[in-house]
């Protein structure tokens, strides 16, 4: 019996530590700032364990019976903790409250375990042996768990299923304890039935965890998904691997936090720096606030109007700590006015004038999005442009979608604007293209805002040179009644992937 008893200690110690690690990791993934998250979670957890140990003195009788119940409870609470936290993060408010509540409950229960166990077995061994053995195996279990967690559990099982698995181990310990301490438990069979029911529940959870974790999507996304939501308009997914946060809309990569500065600096500064006194700026699309972040580097800019279809998108990028760290809380700036509207009707009906316009829509992958790349759209947009104003248009890749890129450039031209195409290398996208357009000639700026990570004045002329493999192609324009671009774009990418 001795060795079995100490294996029990080892297992429950491992379970307790795993729940703690999961809470800490989840909080770091979802909220960022891992030092803060791990510190506060370990602190709360240890503190709750202390309370648990203190409370153990009030349990006077039925020690083994209560120990089994504690294991059962731990199995359920710990096992489902990760799933519950993911769901709370996506669908409910008060994620942090729930997280700390769970950590404290788990800590309390774990704190009760060891004192109770020591009292259960104290009659069988010398006190000094009990303390020595129990604590030895306790720390051994902790070592095992802390090695297992990063090496096997996170990469192969993920957070939700790891928690479920250890919940099952907790309940298995409960079941096994009813045999181990059979002589101290009346009606052990009733407890065993409960154990079996909980085991079935957790096993079902383990099997179905795919649906909860979006592990089904793990095939699409290389990294851990830290946020996923179906809004009325799109499917938003955020992934994180180490310090790389990626945003996907309808499974299309929008940015990687590692190199988005290249994209957004190149999107904004060549155009905006070329305008003598830009006061009013319009951003269409770009609900991530990253282009706005760059625009706010110009103190002359008085107002930025951001039109993005999806209120959940702009809310997410106004409130999520990881994302506001990325966009430097740009969407909360008093200069910024967020309008949640469909861009084309908004542009068509609004009459405001702007000195600079950023048109940063998703690629024309379908006929609905294709409307935003038509002569009619650019004509409507041009009506908002002040005489000295410029617009810049995200125009797909001149490298991978060369036909599409030059079709967009031609479409803007046919809308009556002068075009100045340029391109930039963004590692996570590859070679990417933009078009500056306006009524006047464009002169490359002679100065740029300070503190840019990528753009400098010397580097500007190169952006406007197109090597032979990206050189202009004669293309007809994209029109509402003949959306050539959608077919071109589709074909361009098919050619790449074959």
């Amino acid at each position: 019996m001795g060795i079995l008893l100490f294996i029990t200690v080892l297992l429950i110690a491992a379970c307790g530590l795993i729940y703690e690690l999961i809470a800490g990791t989840l909080a770091s993934y979802l909220l960022g700032d891992s030092v803060l998250q791990f510190s506060t979670i370990i602190g709360c957890y240890l503190f709750a364990m202390g309370i648990g140990s203190a409370l153990s003195r009030f349990i006077a009788r039925g020690l083994a019976y209560r120990f089994v119940w504690i294991e059962l409870l731990l199995g359920v609470v710990g096992g489902f903790s990760s799933a519950l936290l993911f769901l709370a993060f996506a669908y409910a408010q008060g994620f942090q409250l729930l997280m700390y509540a769970l950590v404290i409950i788990i800590g309390l229960l774990v704190g009760l375990e060891i004192p109770l166990l020591m009292r259960i077995v104290r009659g069988r061994y010398h006190f000094r042996d009990v303390v020595a053995h129990v604590l030895t195996f306790d720390y051994l279990g902790a070592l095992g768990a802390s090695l297992l967690f990063p090496i096997l559990l996170v990469p192969y099982l993920g957070l939700v299923r790891s928690a479920m698995l250890f919940g099952i181990i907790n309940v298995a310990v409960a079941l096994w304890s009813t045999f181990l301490f059979a002589n101290q438990i009346a009606k052990a069979w009733a407890l065993r039935v409960v154990c079996l029911v909980v085991l079935v529940g957790l096993s079902f959870g383990l099997a179905e965890a795919k649906h909860i974790t979006m592990a089904a999507e793990d095939n699409i996304y290389a990294d851990e998904i830290i946020f996923a939501r179906d809004t009325r308009y799109q499917h938003i997914v955020l992934t994180r691997f180490k310090d790389d946060i990626r945003l996907f809309l309808n499974s299309h990569l929008q940015f990687s936090s590692r190199d988005e500065y290249r994209y957004h600096e190149a999107l904004v500064h060549p155009g905006l720096s070329a305008i003598p006194a830009p006061r009013r700026v319009l951003v269409l699309g770009g609900g991530d606030g990253l282009a706005v972040r760059e625009i706010l580097k110009y103190p002359q800019v008085e107002t930025v109007t951001l039109v993005d279809l999806d209120p959940e998108m702009t809310r997410l990028f106004s409130s999520h700590p990881l994302l506001t760290a990325l966009n430097q809380k740009s969407l909360s700036s008093p200069k910024v006015h967020v309008v949640n509207a469909d861009a084309f009707p908004w542009v068509d009906s609004n009459r405001e004038s702007f000195d600079f316009m950023v048109i940063d829509f998703p690629d024309p992958t379908n006929y609905s999005l294709g409307k935003l790349y038509t002569t009619t759209f650019y004509k409507a947009a041009a009506r908002h442009l002040s005489a000295q104003g410029l617009m810049v248009v995200q125009s797909t890749s001149p490298m991978f979608a060369r036909d599409s890129y030059w079709c967009i450039a031609e479409t803007i031209k046919q809308a009556g604007l002068r075009i100045f195409p340029y391109h930039v290398y963004v590692p996570s996208f590859g070679e990417w293209g933009f078009v500056i357009a306006g009524f006047r000639d464009y002169q490359q700026p002679t100065s740029l805002p300070s503190g840019l990570r990528f753009m400098n004045v010397q580097g500007l002329p190169v952006l406007f040179q197109f090597p032979p493999d990206m050189a202009p192609l004669p293309m007809p324009p994209n029109r509402l009644n003949d959306q050539l671009l959608v077919r071109l774009y589709d074909q361009d990418w098919k050619d790449i992937s074959h």
């Binding site: 769901l87 996506a90 669908y91 179905e208 649906h211 909860i212 979006m214 089904a216 999507e217 996923a228 179906d230 009325r232 308009y233 279809l309 469909d342 861009a343 084309f344 009707p345 068509d348 379908n366 006929y367 609905s368 999005l369 294709g370 409307k371 935003l372 038509t374 002569t375 009619t376 029109r479 509402l480 009644n481 003949d482 959306q483 959608v486």
Partner: protein, 512 residues
Amino acid sequence: MTVSRREFMRSGCAALVGLSIKGDRPILGSFVNESFQQGHSLRDRASFPAPKQIVRIPVVIIGGGIAGLSAAWRFEGKGFSDFLLLEMNDQVGGNSRWGENEITSYPWAAHYVPVPGPKAVLVRELFEDLGVLKNGEWEERYLCFAPQERLFLYGRWQEGIEPAIGLKEKDRDQFRRLEEQIHRFRASGNFTVPMETGLSERNADLDRISFSAWLRGQGMDSRILNWYMNYCCRDDYGSTTDETSAWAGIQYFASREPEEKGPLTWPEGNGWIVRRLLERVGGFCRTGQMVHRISQEKRAIRVFAGETEYQAEFAIFAAPTFVAPYLIEGLSALQDFEYSPWLTANLTLERLPAAYGGDPTWDSVFLESPTLGYVDATHQTLRTHIDRTVWTFYWALADGPASGNRQRLLNNDWNYWKEAILRDLERVHPDIRKCVSRIDIMRMGHAMARPKVGAVFSLERRQLKKTNGRVLFANSDLSGFSIFEEAQYRGVTAAETVLKDLAGDSRKAPHR
């Protein structure tokens, strides 16, 4: 199958409380815009009240469809304002009526105008006035957005309505030969829009046989080609190729340019044109005014509507011509005016049905269906995100005798037609019942003139096209078929004739 977390949670919760989340919502709706009773009161020679007031007005336009509104548009454009337009229904527009709900406006019948060719001078003039044609360029937002049309066949969608997949060499050969024939007819200049400008006796023999007989005569027996020809005739004329004059069948293809990037269309269909016309001539229109008697006298024409008698110098009869013998004293019954019964329905969709490859289009047609498919009212919107919409479902009851189909229209209740429509859609959209919240149905016993064999060159039509004393006929059915350009042409030319005659009269005897 992948289940989203939300669905997982929802189904979990539903299972917990023992509720089914699949409970279908009921589909609401009714018949709308019914005018059988008014029409039948004329047919049955019901007695109408004696006039209580007399209004003297130089010109009365009877009927507020495109023909009547176009006459009014011409009057207004020429600065002539001594006229009134009387419309039987509460809403003008005729076959270009439209409706509106919180999602979109939508058509009740005619929903597009093919891009007018150079010979359609009057339609081009109208579209210049409405801002559709600017400096020789068509406003892009009024041209049908891509992708325009699709056909469901062999379990999948293809782009375009003319069948292009699954064709055998024989089918291809016959399509090619037909195209060559059409090209020759087009080049002859005898098949034009409006039809009057090109109409030639040389082609009168084509009006003496049916389109299907002509196709047979040309050795065109391909099943798929004949399906497509039959679809086109049902779509434009409400009749099958067996019932359609070969001249009209050829006109459908030969009067249009083959390479047009159109048509012109709007969410409410041609209702958009009516709206714009109303902005110009709405002040002259009197709705809910059913004319029940017209009597011609030497010095005036008396038009009785409701409890008012209008005494005018001229009346432009823009209502369907078949009603004329019931109204105009002394006009004998018409033999050559036959009409097709139609049904249109507007379906409100709370969500879009599952797609089967490809983007949704403006017009969707199903191969071998007795109906004509549906048109999506939100297709022609600038919005990029659409999650609710309205579909206009078209059904020309073309098979079998028209009178029997009219009885079928009248005798069956809303539920019968609702089921018939859903069953047709279900073949292509199995989940349609879960998407639709409302189906409103409009029944039209005499929706459009049917260009049956002999109709186009009929003597009766030729006589009515001439001025008949003080009554000028202006409905598109004078052309033999109901299309927007014909109605507009007839309305405008009638107005011009009246203006000329009034000028002549006033030279002889100034009436003021």
